[in-house]
Amino acid sequence: MELTYIPYKELERIRKLDCRAIERTRLFSTLARINTLYMIMQAGSGHIGSSFSAMDIVSWLYLNEMDLADDPDAHGDIYFSSKGHDAPGYYSVLLGLGRLEFCQLHELRRLNGLPGHPDVITPGIQTNTGSLGTGISKAKGMALAHRLQNKKARIFVLTGDGELQEGQFWESLPSAVHLGLNEITVIIDHNKIQSDTLLSLVNDLGDLEENYLPSDGMLPVVMVMIWRNFPPVLRNAGP
C-alpha cells in the first residue's frame, strides 16, 4: 500500500506563513499529524491517540511559547512529556522544526532510529519517560539544578490524564508548591481516554479543575493547567 508524508520544505513553509499564530499552529499541527500517522504505519506500531491529542499543545509550545536556542541541544526553555507514549507526535514536531534529521521520519522504532518511547539518546529529548506519573518529579530536579547554576529556564511538562491515577503525580505536587518552583508549567492533556477505554469508566476524576486543581487552592505557585483549546492562556508561567 501507499503511505503519504509531508516533506520538510513544506513544514518549513508553513512555519514561516504570514498569518495569525493560531492559524499557523493549527496548520503545522495538522501536517505533523499526517507525518505521525505515516511514522506509525511505517513502524507497524505506535501510540496514535496520545500523539494526536498532544499535538496541538506541543506545536503551540514550540511555535509560539518556548524560548528555543538555535542549537537544538542548547535549550532556553525545556519541554518534555511525562506520559512519553506520545513520542511519535513529538518526533514529528521536532522533524518539522528541523530539530531532528528529517530522514529519521522513516526510522520510528528501528535500531538506531527513533525509540518507541523517549530516550535522551535522541536530540531534543530531555528525559526518558514512558513509565507514567514521574514527569513533575523530574522537572523539580531540573528546576533545582537550574537554581543552583543561576540558570533561568522555564520547564513545560505535559502529562496525560490517565496518568493522574499514578500516586507519584500527587506526591510530586505539594513539594513543587512548597519549594516555589514557579518555573515549572504542568499541562494536562485531558483527552479523557486511557489505554483501554474512557477515564470516566475506570476512575472518574470528574471536573479536574473543580475537584483537584483549584487556582486559589493547593497550587498557587506551580501552574497546572488543563489544555482546553487554542490558544492556551499560560497564566503564572515563568520565573
Binding site: 503511505l3 528501528r110 525509540p115 518507541g116 496518568e163 486511557q194 489505554s195 477505554t197 476512575n203
Partner: protein, 383 residues
C-alpha cells in the same frame, strides 16, 4: 474520526497503540489532508505538496503460539471452579487477555486503573479476607513500582497470583520503558514467591493450573506477549514439576538452560546449527522455574556434559542463569564444568524484534557462533 462518544466497556479504545488498519489510515490521512487544504485555501496559500512511499508488506507469523490467548482461556476455566478467584487489572485488560473473564464474571473483575501500588496492596487486602487475587499488568510495571507492596503482601503469607505480560526483551519496538528484563532479579528474593515462565500455550495452562490449585505460595507468572513461531515441541507426556525442566533437544557436548518461547526458539535453532555446521550436540532444556531448581533433577540433567550454558530473556545479572550458577557452585559433587551465561548485558535496544535479538547477540546465529567458540576454547581443559 476521533469521536469517542460511543466508547464503553464493551467497545474498547482501538487507537491507544499498534497501527491503524489500512482503511482507518486512509480515512484519517485524507481527513487531515482535506483539513490542511481548506485552511491553506482560506489563507490564499499554495496547496501542500505530498510525498508518497510504498509500504512493504511485513512477513506474518504462521500459526504462532499465543500465550496471552492461552492464558485468557485458562483464567476463565479456573475461575469456573474457584469462586474466590478475583481479577485485578491496571488499565491493560485488552493486552493482558482479561476481556473473556470480565464478560463472564463482571462482579469478580476489578479495574484498578493506572495505579499499580494501589492495585497490589488491594490484592493484599482481598487475600487477607479469603479471596484469591490474580493481579495483572505489564511485567515492567507490575514488578517495579509496587515492589515494596509485593514484599509487604509476602510478609502476611497470603496467596496472591501476579501475572506480568509483555515480559522479556521483545517486542523491541516500545523501547526500554516497556522491555521487562529485570523483573526476575527484583522479585526472586520476595519470600514465598515462585516465578514461572511458560514457553507454549500448553505450558501456560499447566503453569496457571499449578498456580491456582497446587502452589501454596504466591506466584509470579511471567508471560511473553508477542505471537511466537516456535522451533520446538514439548514432549507429549510433559508435566510441570516444581524445580524440574525438560530436554527439548539431545546432545552430549553442551547443555543450555532457558525458558519462554523467545529464547528457547533461538536456543533450539542454535542447537540445530551447531549440529549441522560443527557436529556439536547441544541439549537444550526448558526450565520454566526462574528462581528455584531441584538439585537432584539438575544433577541428572547435566550427566556427561561439561559445557553448561544459560540463556536469559532478562538481564544476565539476577536472571535464571545466575541462580543456576550459584546452585551449581554449592553442589560439591558437580566439578570440572564450564559455565557461560547469555542474556541481556546492557540497556535493551529499541528496534524490530530480529534487530534487537541480533544486537544483543541473542539470535540463533550469534548464539551458535559464541557457543562454538566457547566450547572450542575450553576443550580438553578440565580445571
Amino acid at each position: 474520526m476521533e469521536d469517542i462518544s460511543e466508547l464503553d466497556l464493551d467497545n474498547l479504545y482501538q487507537f491507544h497503540s499498534g497501527a491503524p488498519s489500512v482503511e482507518d489510515y486512509i480515512r484519517a490521512k485524507d481527513e487531515l489532508i482535506t483539513a490542511a487544504a481548506e485552511q491553506l485555501q482560506k489563507l490564499g496559500e499554495d496547496p501542500i505538496q505530498l510525498v508518497h512511499r510504498t509500504l512493504l508488506p511485513r512477513p506474518a507469523v504462521e500459526d504462532p503460539q499465543r500465550l496471552i490467548a492461552a492464558y485468557s482461556r485458562a483464567l476463565v476455566a479456573q475461575a469456573e471452579a474457584k469462586p474466590e478467584l478475583v481479577v485485578l487489572d491496571g488499565d491493560l485488560m485488552l493486552d493482558c487477555g482479561l476481556i473473556p473473564f470480565r464478560e463472564k464474571f463482571p462482579q469478580r473483575f476489578i479495574e484498578c486503573g493506572i495505579a499499580e501500588q494501589d492495585m497490589v496492596t488491594m490484592a493484599g487486602g482481598l487475600a487477607l479476607r479469603g479471596m484469591l487475587p490474580v493481579v495483572h499488568s505489564f511485567a515492567c510495571f507490575l514488578s517495579t513500582r509496587p515492589n515494596e507492596h509485593f514484599y509487604i503482601n509476602a510478609t502476611e503469607k497470603t496467596k496472591i497470583i501476579y501475572v506480568g505480560s509483555l515480559a522479556g526483551i521483545l517486542p523491541g519496538g516500545p523501547g526500554h520503558s516497556h522491555q521487562s528484563v529485570r523483573d526476575i532479579a527484583i522479585l526472586s528474593a520476595v519470600p514465598g514467591l515462585i516465578l514461572i515462565e511458560p514457553c507454549t500455550e500448553a505450558e501456560v495452562e499447566m503453569a496457571f493450573d499449578y498456580s491456582v490449585n497446587v502452589a501454596e505460595d504466591s506466584i509470579y507468572l511471567r508471560l511473553v506477549s508477542i505471537p511466537c513461531d516456535i522451533s520446538f515441541q514439548l514432549p507429549e507426556d510433559y508435566k510441570l514439576e516444581y524445580g524440574n525442566g525438560v530436554a527439548l533437544t539431545e546432545g552430549d557436548d553442551a547443555v543450555l538452560f532457558s525458558y519462554g518461547p523467545v529464547m528457547l526458539t533461538q536456543a533450539v535453532k542454535a542447537a540445530e546449527r551447531l549440529k549441522q555446521e560443527h557436529g556439536l550436540g547441544m541439549r537444550v532444556i526448558n526450565l520454566p522455574w526462574l528462581n528455584h531448581v531441584d538439585t537432584g533433577w539438575l544433577r541428572s540433567s547435566l550427566e556427561g556434559v561439561k559445557h553448561i550454558f544459560t540463556l536469559d530473556d532478562h538481564f544476565v545479572k539476577g536472571g535464571q542463569g545466575e541462580m543456576l550458577g550459584c546452585v551449581l557452585a554449592e553442589m560439591s559433587d558437580i566439578k570440572n564444568y564450564h559455565l557461560h551465561r547469555f542474556g541481556v548485558q546492557e540497556i535493551p535496544a529499541c528496534g524490530l524484534n530480529d534487530e534487537v535479538l541480533e544486537k544483543h547477540g541473542l539470535d540463533a546465529v550469534s548464539l551458535c557462533q559464541s557457543i562454538h567458540s566457547l566450547v572450542g576454547e575450553n576443550q580438553g581443559d578440565n580445571t
